[in-house]
């Protein structure tokens, strides 16, 4: 029986979909059977991030309402035969599905896949509650910014209240230069504030924009720092005893010294 893992955040735009796509791909590259599920009904996006938008025939709501069988709706990835996407419906809204239907759906998926990754909608309403209804584990994605951390804390509480906790944390879009200048919350700061366990960290990285433009996961690109970070997170998710990847500070020593003097002057 597979593990059902929901990726959620509270705040939108922190990288839930990118995280789901890259973790799903990284786990499938390891040979696992993986289903990624877009639970953001009405705002479908996981399909375009993974470059599978042209292959959609049926969607999650079609399966739930019995118009299609699960096998008909699952879309095989372009490269990895063990990776499948269940797309969200685009023309319906969040009320098209209820929590019990999501539990039934995840139970069907669990029987056929090693990992079922659910991309949750932003927010704390019905869409979020449906997305965690069938979950065994929850991953909370945040960025080192006040609004994202505040929303993540709300989600920590809601996940615990739903007895799906403790959630684990992915801190995304870290800018090491800013952190070293004391102008961005550090990993340690965020962990102290949220008090949940750290699954992994991902640096801010332009290769994510490029990979998303192409509809290919960043984990395929060995030069992508964010891609390597997601591979590290997938290893940890799979239970490998590896430390959280360190993000190199790309700033040169000269910059760093100038920055130091600049700071002293203020």
């Amino acid at each position: 029986m597979g593990r059902v893992i929901t990726v959620t955040s509270g705040k939108g735009g922190v990288g839930k979909t990118t995280t789901t796509a890259n973790l799903g791909t990284a786990l499938a590259m390891r040979g696992a059977r993986v289903a990624v599920v877009d639970a953001d009904i009405g705002l479908r996006n996981l399909d375009v991030v993974m470059g599978l938008e042209n292959r959609i025939v049926y969607d999650l709501v079609d399966v739930v309402e019995g118009r299609a069988r699960l096998r008909q709706a699952l879309i095989k990835d372009k490269r990895l035969p063990e990776l499948c996407l269940l797309p969200a419906a685009q023309t319906r809204d969040k009320d098209a599905v209820n929590a019990q239907q999501m539990i039934d759906l995840t139970n069907q998926l669990r029987a056929e896949f090693d990992y079922v990754l659910i991309d949750s909608p932003a927010g704390i309403e019905a869409g979020f509650r449906n997305a965690i209804a069938g979950a065994d584990e929850v991953i909370i994605v945040t960025t080192p910014e006040v609004s994202a951390v505040r929303d993540a804390d709300r989600i920590v509480g809601l996940v615990e209240a739903a007895e799906k906790g403790p959630a684990s944390l992915v801190i995304n879009r870290i800018k090491p230069r800013l952190v070293s200048r004391g102008e961005m919350l550090s990993v340690e700061d965020v962990l102290e504030l949220l008090a949940i366990s750290l699954l992994g960290i991902v640096p801010e990285d332009e290769t994510i924009v490029i990979a998303t433009n192409r509809g290919e996961a960043a984990v395929y690109d060995p030069s992508s720092l964010a891609g390597r970070a997601y591979i590290n997170i997938a290893q940890r998710l799979a239970g490998e005893d590896v430390p959280v990847m360190a993000i190199p500070d790309q700033q040169g020593m000269l910059d760093r010294l100038l920055g130091l003097f600049g700071r002293r002057r203020t």
């Binding site: 090491p176 070293s180 004391g182």
Partner: protein, 91 residues
């Protein structure tokens, strides 16, 4: 990064430190949703109970703060006790 933080020390007025302190307050407020009225009532109730054992207590002087701890959050009440000399001067 933490190595650099440790080496150079983070200035107290850095924006990251400010963000952290603001979040510490906001997260506690979000979590417990204590209105100022409830806080005032809690102080009055605390004073009432404590006065049964320690008469030298002023409800107005009690300071209650919520803070975020490592393993659990903390409610801290500072309850000043009037000294005997203070008491005589009050009368």
């Amino acid at each position: 990064m933490s190595f650099l933080n440790g080496l150079f020390g983070r200035k107290r007025d850095s924006s990251a430190e400010l963000a952290k302190q603001r979040l510490l307050t906001v997260l506690i407020d979000d979590r417990y949703k204590l209105t100022p009225e409830m806080m005032a009532q809690m102080k009055a109730d605390l004073a009432e109970v404590l006065k049964r054992y320690l008469p030298a207590i002023d409800a107005d002087q009690i300071e209650v703060t919520l803070s975020r701890g490592e393993a659990h959050d903390l409610l801290k009440a500072d309850v000043p006790l009037r000294r005997a000399t203070d008491q005589s001067s009050h009368r």
